[in-house]
Every structure is written in structure tokens, then in C-alpha cells.
């Protein structure tokens, strides 16, 4: 009987750890490398390490991520439908002009939508194998092919359940969900005000015994997983990366944001909790000009 409780709990914990690492490898490791904040003296080492992670996780290869992300920082494209992240949101059905509540409902439908997962996986695998407009080089493609071959061999001749439980669910599916949670709460997409905000986890302390009971449950089963999978590394302070550029320390993000906020030079606002961040971002899409879609 106790196994019915402990085994799912351990698997849940394992998934949180694995998905957190996958997301960190993109939003901090790869991100810092393309912004030249990491491996400044050894670009080759940095490329090897970032490509190692993107290969084993089948996330976007370095060159494709570099193109997409630097365009995201280009003020001519940031938060417009030319921004690849916003373009993806529109393709997934997040239309400017929709009501905020409609957009939020659509977000939750997307999490389990086969169309959403298909689009995300198609994009990830296209990048890994140099398909379409991908700029991925031949060696990176070979590495991806080798890794895929290893996974298929493992599934076919060693253990299919092991590959499904140990790789497909966390790496291919849950990582998609974490990615959607991230970029659909990140900015006021489509809004002329080009807003970003700090995304913080938690809520006010309760004042009743029942309130405390739910507060502790949320801490363990909601907020810690959110912090690790939705906002790994310095993502909670991502607004400061846009506002302050190179003045922001990505490896000590929390304290760097606080110090920069103290200067009063930057417009930094904040949201607490996932729902607040989602509402703010979806409100931006709702108010965006519907002709931009």
C-alpha cells in the first residue's frame, strides 16, 4: 500500500529534477553562452557543453536558438508577431483580441493538446536534424542521429517502458509543458508597451489552520516544482535581463535584480504566483491589435 504513495512521489520528484535541468540548459546555459556571458575565453568548450545538453535533450540546437533569441532582443521584432516565441503562441491559437479569460482557458487546453506537443516536438527535432530553415551543422546532426538511434535501440531491445518513463515523458512531453508555461507568462506579447516583469513564487501567509495546511501543501507540491520547472535558474528575474542588459548578473540573478532595482534606473515590476503572471501576459495579447495576427 505504501508503494502506491511512495513510488508516484519519487517519480514526481525525479521528473521535477530532470525537467528542471532540461529547462536550465536552455534558459541559462545556452542563453548565457549566446549572450557571451559564459565561456568567454573558450567558445569551443562552451559550444561543446551547450550542444551536449541540447543533443541529449533534443532541445533546439545552438545556432537555431541563437538566431531566434537574438531576434527576440531586436527592438524591431521584440514582442511583435515576427518574434518567434509570439509567432508560436499565435500559431497555437493565442489570438490578439481574444478575452483574457479565453486565452487563459486556451493555455490550459494547450498543455494536453496533441497539436501543441506535435508542434513543439516537430520544431525541436527539425532543429536537431537540420530540417527546414534550421542552421544546424553536420556534426550536430550526426550526434542527434546517434543519440536517437541509441534511444530506439534501447526501446526495442532493452526496455520500452524504461524509455517511455525515463525519457519520453519527462524529456519530450513535460519539457514542452514547462516551455509553454515559461514563454506564455514572460512578456506582454503584442503590446506596444513591451513589458516584462519579475515572476515570483509564493503567496501571502495564511491566517487560519486550514490555510496553513494548504499553504504547506502548495509549498511542496506546487511552488517548489514551479520554481524548478517553470522558473529555473534566473528566470524569475528575466525582466532585468531585458531592462538592464549586461549590468545584470545571470549567475546571481536574484540579488543582481534587487541591487539594480535599488538604483531606481529601471522600470521593474513583479507578479506573484503563476496565475498572476499568466493573467498579465494574456491581458497583453488580449489588448494587442488583432490586425497583427
Amino acid at each position: 500500500m505504501s508503494e502506491l504513495i511512495t513510488v508516484p512521489l519519487i517519480i514526481f520528484t525525479a521528473y521535477v529534477l530532470i525537467v528542471s535541468t532540461i529547462r536550465w540548459s536552455i534558459v541559462e546555459l545556452q542563453h548565457s553562452f549566446i549572450h557571451r556571458e559564459l565561456f568567454k575565453k573558450s567558445q569551443r568548450t562552451g559550444r561543446l557543453i551547450t550542444e551536449f545538453f541540447s543533443t541529449i535533450f533534443f532541445t533546439h540546437a545552438l545556432e537555431d536558438y541563437r538566431c531566434t533569441h537574438l531576434k527576440h532582443h531586436n527592438k524591431n521584432f521584440t514582442f511583435t508577431p515576427e518574434d518567434d516565441d509570439f509567432k508560436l503562441l499565435i500559431a497555437l491559437g493565442f489570438r490578439p483580441g481574444m478575452l483574457t479569460q479565453e486565452l487563459k482557458r486556451h493555455f490550459y487546453r494547450c498543455l494536453i493538446s496533441p497539436h501543441f506537443h506535435w508542434r513543439m516536438l516537430a520544431s525541436r527535432f527539425s532543429s536537431n536534424f537540420g530540417l527546414g530553415q534550421s542552421k544546424t551543422g553536420i556534426y550536430r546532426r550526426l550526434a542527434a542521429a546517434l543519440w536517437l538511434g541509441l534511444l530506439i535501440y534501447s526501446a526495442a531491445f532493452i526496455s520500452l517502458p524504461a524509455v517511455l518513463i525515463g525519457y519520453v515523458i519527462p524529456v519530450l512531453l513535460m519539457a514542452n509543458i514547462a516551455a509553454l508555461c515559461q514563454f506564455s507568462t514572460e512578456h506582454s506579447w503584442g503590446s506596444a508597451s513591451h513589458q516584462s516583469w519579475g515572476r515570483f513564487v509564493g503567496e501571502k501567509l495564511p491566517t487560519s489552520i486550514y490555510g496553513w495546511f494548504t499553504w504547506w501543501l502548495k509549498l511542496i507540491f506546487v511552488w517548489i516544482p514551479q520554481r524548478m520547472m517553470w522558473l529555473p535558474g534566473g528566470l524569475s528575474s528575466h525582466d532585468t535581463h531585458h531592462e538592464a542588459g549586461s549590468r545584470f548578473d545571470p549567475f546571481n540573478p536574484v540579488y543582481s535584480r534587487a541591487a539594480l532595482a535599488q538604483t531606481g534606473k529601471y522600470k521593474l515590476s513583479e507578479t506573484w504566483g503563476f496565475n498572476a503572471a499568466l493573467s498579465r501576459a494574456m491581458s497583453g495579447i488580449s489588448k494587442a491589435n488583432s490586425t497583427t495576427s
Partner: protein, 73 residues
């Protein structure tokens, strides 16, 4: 909890509320969790990129290890 200050309604800033309610040894964890330090808080350690890479590798191995031990993957 510490300070005997149970008037949680007095605080509008969540992080300051946590700072005044929970003991000092929990504050670094709460800063990590919330993503925000309390006013005047200084980091325990200054992180380097290499440290963060190592921590995440350990995190990945821990996750894979838990799966291996639990379901044999």
C-alpha cells in the same frame, strides 16, 4: 515561528512577510523559492557559472538515479 509576530495582515510585501515570520536559517531557501531576497539581504555565496553547471549535472543524475531505483529505468 520567530519574533512572535503573527500579524501577517500587516505586511503587503510577501517576501518581507516571510522574512519577519520564518527563522533566519530558512531565509536563503525562501529567497531561492520566491526568487526575491528581502530588503538588504546579502547572498550566502556568490555563484559562478561552473558551480551552476555542476549543480545541474548533480540534479540530473539525482533525477535519473531516483527513476532507476524506483522503476528500474
Amino acid at each position: 515561528m520567530k519574533n512572535g509576530n503573527n500579524n501577517v495582515k500587516a505586511y503587503t510585501d510577501i517576501r518581507e512577510m516571510y522574512k519577519n515570520y520564518f527563522p533566519a536559517f530558512l531565509q536563503p531557501f525562501l529567497t531561492w523559492l520566491t526568487g526575491k531576497p528581502f530588503a538588504g539581504q546579502q547572498p550566502l555565496i556568490i555563484m559562478r557559472a561552473e558551480t551552476r553547471i555542476l549543480l545541474n549535472l548533480v540534479q540530473l543524475e539525482l533525477g535519473m538515479g531516483l527513476l532507476f531505483v524506483t522503476v528500474g529505468v
